[in-house]
């Protein structure tokens, strides 16, 4: 027997769900960082010809053309960047806020906990999508591209994860090893960061992988609603655009939608696999 993380890795290695989901995630990240590997056409600079408008998929243009006559395959590949970037960056922001707030509330307790808990409740009360529309709209006056969406999702999406951190911190801080660290003269900051935090991370890491999948679908929804990144290529934008011509051709909608679904599913499945591996009760 080895440490918890080693045990978890041992379990993960045998989990087909982990491998499939991990492979899809890896593929999407690769697509987001070096789209040129996958497509010879650069969707950002390619000139689209209206004569190709809504042309069906063929051997040279696998996913066909959209209404503007742009290559759908190239746009799907180049659209991965904004989805993956929004997913990872907004999850990072939400994760940092959640861990900081949850750790403080859970460890200090008392009035600070009460105050932060009410803060979480207020943020929970804001409907995620509606709140994100307002925040992204307010921020995008400065032409920030996809960053308004990242910040909107990050700043609104942390309360549930913060609650998860808070409850695991509360159970960790009553453990004997925290008392043991105290009797050796450790400071509160040290106990919080070195003894309580590492023992409370597993549940929230899992929670955040699921959140990541949700954030990607939120980005697509926001783009679909017209609040998302304007001048960027994104699955959400393409889906929104394609749905107007759905009666004439369904493929410009189907392909970005399929990629979106696959990515979100992959992140959620990854989260599930990691949770199962880290949960000692499922052993």
């Amino acid at each position: 027997m080895a440490s918890l993380s080693e045990d978890a890795w041992h379990d993960l290695r045998r989990s087909p769900v982990f491998w499939i989901a991990g492979l899809v995630v890896l593929l999407m990240v690769l697509m987001a960082t070096v789209p040129g590997l996958f497509s010879s056409i650069d969707a950002r600079t390619a000139t689209c010809s209206l004569s190709d408008s809504l042309r069906a998929p063929s051997a040279t243009h696998w996913f066909g053309f959209d209404k503007q006559g742009c290559d759908v395959y190239a746009r799907v590949i180049y659209g991965a960047r904004s989805s993956v970037l929004v997913g990872i960056a907004s999850t990072l922001i939400a994760g940092i806020i959640a861990i900081a707030v949850g750790l403080l509330a859970g460890y200090r307790g008392g009035w600070l906990d009460a105050l932060l808990a009410r803060g979480m409740d207020i943020f929970l009360g804001i409907p995620m999508l509606l709140g994100a529309v307002v925040v992204a709209k307010a921020l995008s006056g400065h032409e920030l591209g996809i960053w308004p969406v990242v910040f909107a999702l990050g700043f609104l999406g942390w309360p549930i994860s913060a609650r998860v951190v808070r409850s695991s911190v509360i159970s960790a801080k009553h453990q004997d090893y925290v008392q043991a660290a105290r009797v050796l003269g450790a400071s509160h900051l040290r106990i919080m960061l070195r003894h309580v935090l590492p023992n409370s991370l597993a549940p929230v890491v899992v929670m955040l992988t699921i959140t990541l999948g949700q954030f990607i679908s939120f980005e697509a929804t926001l783009s679909f609603l017209g609040v998302g990144p304007r001048n960027t290529i994104s699955w959400g934008v393409d889906i929104a655009e394609a749905q107007r011509w759905i009666r004439e051709a369904s493929f410009p909608l189907m392909f970005p939608a399929a990629f979106l679904t696959a990515t979100v599913l992959a992140f959620i499945m990854l989260g599930d696999a990691v949770r199962d591996a880290f949960d000692p009760k499922l052993r």
């Binding site: 027997m1 440490s3 918890l4 008392q179 009797v183 050796l184 450790a186």
Partner: protein, 328 residues
């Protein structure tokens, strides 16, 4: 003369939803360098709370220190600011917990944990601290310490884990070591080894050892003095040689009588009737009176003071002379 560690009339209460629980009701005792004091008592008698109060790790609230002083090298720990109090922990007074598995952090190697205090408190660099951790592990007789320093707590057996805990407590060279039921979670054979180790380390370093236990057998082997606690009070205090043959308090006598004896297998075990008092509603008078076979009306009304008897032993019983000479 100042004692190394001295408690004076320590009173601790827990404010709960059901009322105020009087957990410590005036505990006074002391321990000197090289000496072993045993705090003996049933669950709920206040022995662990006494240890937590000395270490300053009581959860306040719900706990509150109502009165008393804890003098360490002449300074009242209760009056120190948190910063200085922290400096006493580990270097002045250290503690070994009952359940080493839960008292060791599961996500770090034992070597890291032993070295942590050294790095943070004495400023040793990583390498020197790691070497010192191996020394300490060898000192508490963990075989193959140099290799095992990289193992995690759950990879050790119960006895070895307790040794790791002891190594951690000794890292900062404390003057007083409090061991809270250090062998309760262990096999009998391992218990003896751990007690021997604690004694050996105490003698070698001239530490004071406060041993908290409910096990009369363990106490008899290792303690110099025994303080018997009941309902948050010390009811009797005496040297091992005085206490075992001639207890001066009916509670101590009942405890000794309820010990299983090898040569009397034909009789059922003697037990003490009743339960320890609810600390929310301690009965008036002597707290032991509802269970005491020789209680008088006086015992139900007046709390007996802790009086000094011959040889410096202490007892809090209205009939202590009669208990001592066997006439009651």
């Amino acid at each position: 003369m100042n004692h190394l560690l001295e408690l004076q009339d320590l009173q601790v209460e827990f404010r709960t939803r059901d009322g105020v629980a009087h957990v410590l009701n005036g505990v006074s005792c002391h321990v000197d360098a090289g000496e072993t004091l045993a705090l003996l008592g049933e669950s709920g008698s206040g022995k662990s709370v006494t240890a937590q109060a000395i270490m300053g790790i009581l959860d306040i609230p719900p706990a509150a220190v109502r009165a008393g002083r804890i003098l360490f090298e002449g300074r009242d720990l209760l009056a120190l600011p948190e910063r200085e109090r922290r400096a006493v922990r580990g270097q002045g007074i250290a503690m070994v917990f009952q359940d080493a598995l839960s008292a060791l952090n599961p996500v770090f190697t034992v070597g890291w944990q032993i070295a942590e205090a050294l790095r943070v408190r004495t400023g040793l660099d990583r390498k020197a601290a790691a070497r010192r951790a191996i020394d300490l592990m060898e000192r508490v007789k963990i075989p193959d310490a140099a290799a095992r320093v990289h193992d995690y707590p759950h990879q050790f057996s119960g006895g070895m884990r307790q040794r790791v805990m002891i190594a951690m407590a000794l890292a900062l060279d404390p003057k007083v070591l409090i061991a809270d039921e250090p062998t309760t979670a262990l096999d009998v054979t391992v218990q003896a080894q751990i007690m021997d180790l604690l004694l050996e380390l105490k003698n070698e370093r001239g530490m004071a050892l406060i041993l908290i236990t409910h096990d009369l057998g363990v106490v008899a082997q290792v303690a110099d003095r025994i303080a018997v606690m009941y309902a948050g009070r010390i009811v009797e205090q005496a040297s091992v040689h005085d206490l075992y043959p001639r207890p001066a308090h009916p509670y101590t006598r009942a405890l000794l009588q309820s010990m299983p004896r090898q040569h009397r297998t034909d009789q059922p075990l003697t037990t003490i009737q009743g339960l320890p008092p609810n600390l929310l509603r301690i009965p008036p008078g002597c707290p032991f009176n509802p269970r005491c076979p020789i209680a008088l009306d006086l015992c139900r009304e007046v709390i007996p003071p802790l009086i000094t008897l011959e040889g410096g032993r202490l007892s809090a019983c209205h009939r202590t002379r009669e208990v001592l000479d066997g006439s009651a």
